[in-house]
């Protein structure tokens, strides 16, 4: 495993990549700067340094402070918009110059450690379009709603600006409905779903962008690459473990095996995971849950086949686990999905 991972305490974010914008937004809404920064390691005088960095945990504390001080549900959407059009983020500028949505999103995904190290995505194909499923790559300390809002706002705004329409796009969210969100996204949103995902119809993927520009794009990509020297292309530990387990299915990895693959000791793996507010068994369980859902959505597998693909000893155990994840047994889940 050549890929490195970052610890919970590494400084992996640039202040310019969201932090200063968020502070400006919050201050215009009456929040006090010293209260926003309390509990974080950010100093006021560092805010304007072009290459100032911060810990991810500081960013999460900052978000928490913001929500404590302000009741402003529009904040993630405004911030998403501000990031997308920021002059200081070459990654976001490069998105505008891409040929089409496919290129823009793969660019965003390739450099995601610069802006959204907290998420990773999986793509799969459905009847009407391609579904991007967003998964948390690290412990988000209850800020996943905000971060998802931010990410989706950024992507949807990009599509709106470049293609002029968001028709046909639908959004599935895991958490409960709130009145405001529907308004902000401007697309069809369904709540209490099994995963956070964005479904984009095939027709939008290849449509050329309004601002497509090959020269500008390559210039921006160059500056993204330069930035890589400062912000290493690293992934979060929970994400790496999920990927390893995903690849190893139907075989189940043990904590010791994974630790050895990542070049860590078993106890340090455990300690680092606890910093992300998770543990090894929970990650393996989530991988199996997602795999089961995908297989069920894909086609007609029997419970016995599913059990063997997911590394369960028999189908009874699989059925029990599935009931625990979703509250329904696999066959009724299949019905539920097929009727949609």
């Amino acid at each position: 495993m050549s890929q490195r991972h970052f610890g919970y305490q590494d400084k992996i974010l640039l202040l310019q990549h969201g932090c200063s914008e968020l502070l400006a937004l919050a201050q215009r809404r009456g929040a006090l700067l010293h209260k926003l920064l309390s509990g974080t390691g950010i100093f006021e005088q560092d805010l304007h340094k072009p290459l100032g960095r911060l810990h991810y945990s500081d960013w999460l504390t900052l978000l928490k402070n913001c929500q404590q001080q302000l009741n402003s549900p529009e904040l993630p959407y405004l911030l998403g918009n501000a990031l997308l059009n920021s002059r200081y983020i070459s990654l976001c500028q490069s998105l505008h110059y891409a040929q089409n949505l496919r290129q823009a999103l793969s660019q965003l995904y390739y450099f995601r450690h610069q802006l959204f190290p907290c998420f990773y995505a999986r793509l799969y194909r459905q009847q009407h379009g391609i579904v991007i499923e967003i998964k948390p790559a690290m412990g988000l300390a209850n800020q996943d709603g905000f971060m998802l809002g931010l990410l989706f706002a950024l992507i949807l705004n990009l599509i709106k600006q470049q293609l002029g329409t968001v028709n046909g796009i639908s959004l599935q969210l895991q958490h409960d409905a709130s009145a405001m969100q529907q308004q902000f996204f401007g697309v069809e949103v369904s709540f209490n779903q099994a995963a956070d995902s964005l479904c984009i119809p095939f027709s939008l993927w290849q449509q050329p962008f309004a601002d497509a520009n090959v020269e500008q794009l390559s210039a921006k990509i160059r500056s993204c690459r330069q930035l890589n020297r400062m912000l290493d292309k690293q992934r979060a530990l929970p994400e790496l473990i999920c990927r390893l387990q995903q690849r190893a299915l139907p075989q189940l990895l043990s904590q010791e095996q994974v630790a050895a693959m990542l070049g860590l000791s078993s106890s340090s793996l455990k300690r680092q995971l606890s910093q992300h507010q998770t543990h090894f068994a929970a990650l393996v369980d989530s991988v199996r849950r997602d795999a089961a859902r995908h297989l069920l959505q894909q086609g007609q597998y029997s419970n016995r086949q599913l059990a063997s693909r997911l590394g369960y000893s028999d189908e009874h155990n699989f059925r029990r686990a599935f009931k625990r994840w979703t509250g329904v047994i696999p066959s009724s889940f299949k019905d539920l999905f097929n009727t949609h």
């Binding site: 914008e21 400006a24 302000l70 009741n71 402003s72 959407y77 709106k160 308004q183």
Partner: protein, 299 residues
């Protein structure tokens, strides 16, 4: 807020210190076997609560006449309770009456002063309510206020609209809504930056709330959309108000490079706030599809 009241904090500390010194000077400490735990607990709690009031007054109120009355009333109470607590620990000579006067006199005086202050607070609140007209209707919940525009948000609108619909249905009166939508606000934000967008929104909300009648309330329904509830209003009146708002808005727009607004009016015929608010989406879409700044004819 407390920074405005530095000298007051200093004064109360000095006063309490004087009381303590006076008590120490005249009396002698009791033996620990004479302490009455229950009395100390009761009087200590009263003192703490009174101190808490003092702190809340200082930290929440701007300087002014009403604040002075409230503050000095509570200070006298605190002083009296403080001496009350002290005499649990200190015994005064029998013939020395000053301490017991100091203990019992300030409390009723303080209560009177505090009451006078509360009457002033009541009057002040009525004045503030007048000031808030157009921004608030029957319900107050400061957590629902949008921090940028200082208008209430969608949740508040929902609650108020539901109540008004029920009232109007039972009394057979007409309820109208005005919907205001900023045209291409995302584009404005993109070209001028979010900061300019925020400034525009707060100026706009200031203008809108000043142009409505006292019985109306305007809320920020979404990022770029405002909804005004007009109780007891006929469609014709609503149309006049919409026209008036448009004129006012043109002044704001002509002042700078600001986006246009679409204003649409509608009569509420639905029986739930949810349905009525969904109808506003349709109304605004139709208004935009037709010529901009034009009211729906069937209103």
């Amino acid at each position: 807020m407390w920074r405005q009241h530095r000298y007051k904090i200093l004064l109360s500390l000095i006063l309490l210190l004087c009381g303590l010194l006076l008590a120490l000077n005249t009396g002698a400490a009791k033996h620990s076997s004479e302490f009455d735990a229950l009395d100390i607990l009761g009087e200590g709690t009263t003192l703490l609560v009174a101190c808490g009031w003092l702190g809340l007054i200082i930290s929440s109120r701007p300087a002014g006449r009403v604040t002075e009355w409230l503050y000095y009333g509570s200070l006298l109470l605190v002083f009296s309770y403080f001496l009350d607590l002290l005499d649990e620990f200190i015994r005064y000579p029998e013939q020395f009456r000053l301490m017991s006067w100091l203990e019992s006199l300030p409390a009723p005086v303080g209560m009177l002063v505090l009451t006078y202050g509360l009457v002033g607070w009541h009057r002040e609140q009525r004045a503030i309510n007048r000031q808030l007209r157009g921004r608030e209707l029957f319900l107050r919940d400061h957590q629902l206020i949008d921090p940028l525009t200082q208008l209430y948000g969608a949740d508040y609108l929902h609650a108020v609209l539901q109540r008004e619909i029920e009232l109007h249905l039972s009394q057979h009166r007409t309820l109208c809504l005005l919907v205001l939508d900023i045209d291409d606000f995302a584009g404005f934000n993109r070209h001028h930056g979010i900061a300019a967008g925020d400034t525009y929104l707060s100026r706009l909300s200031e203008l809108l709330s000043s142009q409505l009648r006292h019985s109306d309330v305007i809320c920020r329904y979404a990022g770029d959309r405002f909804v005004a509830v007009l109780p007891n209003t006929t469609p014709q009146q609503a149309q006049i108000m919409a026209q008036h708002l448009r004129q006012q808005i043109t002044q704001l727009v002509s002042a700078g490079d600001a986006p246009q607004l679409t204003v649409a009016g509608m009569t509420v015929q639905q029986h739930s706030a949810q349905a009525a608010l969904q109808q506003t989406d349709i109304a605004i879409k139709q208004a935009k599809a037709g010529s901009a700044l034009k009211l729906r004819p069937e209103l």
